[in-house]
Amino acid sequence: MIRVLVADDHTIVRETLVAALDASGECMVVGQAADGIEAVDQCLRLQPDIAIVDISMPRLNGIEVVRRLRADLPQMRILVLTMHQEEEYVLHMLRAGAAGYLRKDAAMAELLEAVRALGGGGLHFGAHATRAMAMQVQQARPMPADPYRDLSPREREVFHLIVDGLTTKEIALRLDIGIKTAENHRQRVFAKLDVRNAAELVRYAARNHLID
């Protein structure tokens, strides 16, 4: 049986969804979360096959939830179930790593189809999401650049040393540069990759397969 976690801050929506999923006999709801932080914690603890995640949630929004879960539980599939149908939301979630995207008013039959698809390791996108992706391809808007490729050779060296767990002082020693220079490199790497600390940098590296 497919093990599912449901994260939605709207109690009635969450409970009716849980009841409908349980009643289907195709999956089992193993956990529920009412905000983004709880969603991440519950997923880490329960390790479901699929997390069904809303976008607008208190404490941590769905986009950030998907990013974190993709980094920490790469084998788990994430289905976004949301009120939002605009192209931009779809693309944001897709880039964050969602394996499926449905509007909340999707018929139960389609929702179950998505659960089956993701449960089997596949993908499922509703009509709106599919159209959004088609528009993206046809308009050929540039996908966001790969920030790692924008790092200078020196910054890449610093990047990998941080990933290896070296402190700024150790990096300065290793590369035979001043501590201040090493710190500048470090700050620039953080800024270019849009991360705040070494832990996030390591997650970035893992997500982008930049670690051996």
Partner: protein
């Protein structure tokens, strides 16, 4: 004797002029303070209005809208539980579901009309892309820099509202078919410039500025007032028959930002 009287008069006159100058200076200060206060108040009013729109929009979308979604899910569950022979019952539930769907779509449109959530959730760039796509009958090209500077919520809202107003004018009144919206930062990221060009009929500027004034502060006149409040500049260019061009510039760090 006459000389002494004259110099006494001159002295008196001097004192009076000094007095008048002092009064003038005091009045000027008072006026400036009042103006400052009025601007501050007007900004607060605008901020509160946007905040109210944000709240009602969210309540409609996430409150009413989600209840409707839960209702649809309930109908699905009831329908799935009906015996196979209950076709009439299933038909009735399907029609009920359709009605809920229509109500949900209306609720969504109403919410977006008040304030699109995308602006708060995904930021100005996504909101502008969505806006550019959502205006019917108008081909909108969007030119955005690769990296927008950090823009406060208020300025983002203002840029979005000006774009919305301009695109809506272009689509409703100007007969334009193409519009270009360009946003870029300049002066070391201290200012942001928004330019909107259409290929419509154009119009007399004085007419354009007074239109919409009497209403609810929308229209170009209202736009100018708002931009003024944020120490920005508005430049309009139009020749009848040759399109319309709106250009606004806004300081990213307003001098009034830290007012009490």
């Amino acid at each position: 004797m006459g000389m002494a009287a004259d110099s006494a008069n001159v002295g008196e006159l001097g004192r009076r002029i000094d007095d008048l100058m002092r009064q003038h200076a005091a009045l000027l200060t008072q006026l400036q303070q009042d103006q400052h206060r009025t601007r501050h108040l007007a900004r607060s009013v605008w901020r509160i209005e946007e905040e109210a729109r944000r709240r009602i929009a969210r309540e409609l979308h996430d409150g009413v809208g989600q209840n409707l979604v839960a209702l649809m899910r309930q109908l699905d569950v009831i329908s799935a539980g009906l015996p196979a022979a209950a076709t009439a019952g299933r038909e009735g539930l399907l029609r009920a579901r359709e009605l809920v769907q229509l109500t949900l779509d209306d609720t969504r449109s109403l919410s977006r009309l008040l304030r699109p959530q995308i602006l708060d959730d995904l930021g100005l760039e996504s909101a502008l892309r969505w806006l550019a796509r959502s205006i019917e009958g108008l081909a909108v090209t969007l030119e955005l820099p690769e990296q927008l500077p950090e823009i406060s919520d208020e300025i983002s809202t203002l840029i979005f509202r000006v774009s919305q107003e301009a695109l809506s004018n272009a689509s409703r009144h100007s007969g334009a078919t193409q519009v270009k919206v360009a946003l870029n930062a300049h002066a070391n990221g201290q200012w942001i410039r928004l330019e909107i060009d259409d290929n419509g009929r154009g119009c007399e500027l004085s007419q354009a500025l007074s239109a919409g004034r009497e209403g609810h502060g929308s229209g170009l006149g209202g736009m100018r007032d708002r931009i003024d409040l944020f120490d920005g500049k508005l430049d309009l260019q139009s020749t009848p028959g040759k399109g319309f061009r709106i250009s606004i510039e806004l300081p990213l760090r307003s001098a009034m930002r830290n007012d009490p």
